[in-house]
Amino acid sequence: MSSSTLQRIAAGDSAALRDCIDQYGALVWSIARRLSRTPADAEDATQEIFLDIWRSAARFDASQGSDKVFIAMIARRRLIDRLRKTSAEPPMDPLEYVDAVSWTEASASSETAMEAEQATRALAELRPEQRQVLELGLLHGMSQSEIAAKLQMPLGTVKSFMRRGLIKVREYMNIEAEGVSSSV
């Protein structure tokens, strides 16, 4: 079985660092753009994220999930930390991508990681307003308070939607993962 790019980085293959940029640059850049205050911030954040990825490559375990989701986890952590440090204003153009960015249909793209397809299927079972809360929070970096103001919804309801939505996706992914592992 061939090694993934992350496994090659962990093994000390120096060429794998550039391959990592080629393979995951667009993914990291798309996340950084949405969760940064300015384009310059997004560029700095992207560089920090790749450093984090290279340093963390040895912790990637293919049996626990896909490389894309591992990288997205690292990217989100870094970007949220950066946002917290300069939390006076929301990320850039928070609603600019509302129409342009949405969750793909399950199995719509062969490049989408399996967990992403599972998550998308779980989303389909949520109510539209729950999906909207998750979308504004996860894809546009809006805080729960900002979402409450934007949607004119009580903060408690936003919290509840966010909590239930993520729990639903988490449950769906765990159940599907167990189904896959038990069928292998």
């Binding site: 989701v69 946002l83 993520l166 729990i167």
Partner: protein
């Protein structure tokens, strides 16, 4: 759809904190609250939520536009610098230790602290740093150390490093003394923590930001058995994430030594030294310390 499989689940208040941590981050007060409520179940739950959020993020990133050309070039340069920094570390003799660490990394993958623990670990460093400030006060009130350092202990990285330097070459003690006399070097007071191996330890660090070289000097650091554990140096760089200090190499302290000088072998370039720490790790050192045995700390002023 079937019910969720039985699994230990945090209460609703804790889940709200975890969800907020995953979606927008926590304030200092909320993080402290999470640290108090922290548990193995919460850590596992947090990772699941992070994974769910990441999976949704990936799902929304299908067909994302490519990196801007300028940024791609910048990242490529960054990759090359990263590779050469690692290569430099290998040249100075860290390769043997690093290969050991890569093996160790696979072992420690499961044992690696989940994110909640990692955050707690960060606060552990900060708490230790706070203790350090108190220790600095006590250190400043105590009489200055007048005893001259004894013979230098050479770090135990490669076997060849134990060879005595040629007679004409300066010893690490002499190099350290020369570095201390320079005005452009960073001087840091070191103190032992409450860890048994660090109790009563005093010392200092000197670092030259131009040559990227430096020395740690300890009095009273307990001897170690290299076959079971080694000391590892960590350099906190103000320009880097404090969760990932730069590896400064591993070293040993023989039973006969009370006063030692240790060269620092930074694995990566350090922009601005913020602090030094020494931990006890498995032989060969680790890539990321679990920070269970922080024995010495010192913050740059």
């Amino acid at each position: 759809m079937s019910e969720t499989p039985p699994r230990s689940q945090p209460d609703e208040a804790l889940i709200d904190l975890l969800v907020k941590r995953v979606t927008e981050g926590l304030s200092s007060a909320e993080q402290r609250e999470l640290d108090v409520l922290d548990s193995a179940a919460a850590s596992a739950y947090l990772r699941d939520l992070e994974k769910a959020a990441a999976a949704l993020t990936v799902a929304a990133s299908s067909g994302a536009e490519p990196l801007p050309a300028g940024l791609a070039q910048r990242l490529a340069r960054c990759a090359d610098e990263h590779v050469s920094a690692l290569a430099t570390a290998n040249v100075v003799g860290l390769d043997a230790a690093r290969s050991t660490r890569q093996d160790a990394t696979a072992e420690s993958r499961e044992a690696a602290p989940p994110h909640v623990h990692s955050r707690s670990g960060t606060y552990g460093w900060l708490a230790a740093a706070a203790c350090f400030l108190l220790a600095v006060y006590a250190w400043m009130r105590s009489p200055p150390q007048t005893q001259a350092p004894n013979e230098v202990i050479v770090p135990s990285l490669p076997a060849t490093a134990a060879v005595q330097p040629p007679p004409a070459a300066p010893t690490p003690s002499e190099e350290r003394a020369a570095m201390l006399a320079q005005s452009n070097t960073v001087k840091v007071t070191l103190n032992g923590t409450k860890d048994p191996a660090g109790k009563g330890v005093t010392g200092d660090a000197v670092w030259d930001p131009v040559t990227q070289k430096g020395f740690l000097h300890f009095v009273g650091l307990a001897s170690n058995d290299p076959s079971s554990s080694q000391y590892q140096i960590w350099i906190f760089d103000a320009a880097r994430d404090s969760r990932y200090p730069v590896d400064g190499g591993v070293f040993d302290v023989p039973a006969t030594a009370d006063d030692v000088v240790i060269p620092i072998n930074a694995a990566l370039a350090v922009s601005k030294v913020a602090a030094f720490a020494v931990t006890v790790e498995k032989p060969g050192g680790v890539v990321v310390s679990a920070r269970q045995h922080v024995v010495v700390l010192g913050a740059a002023s």
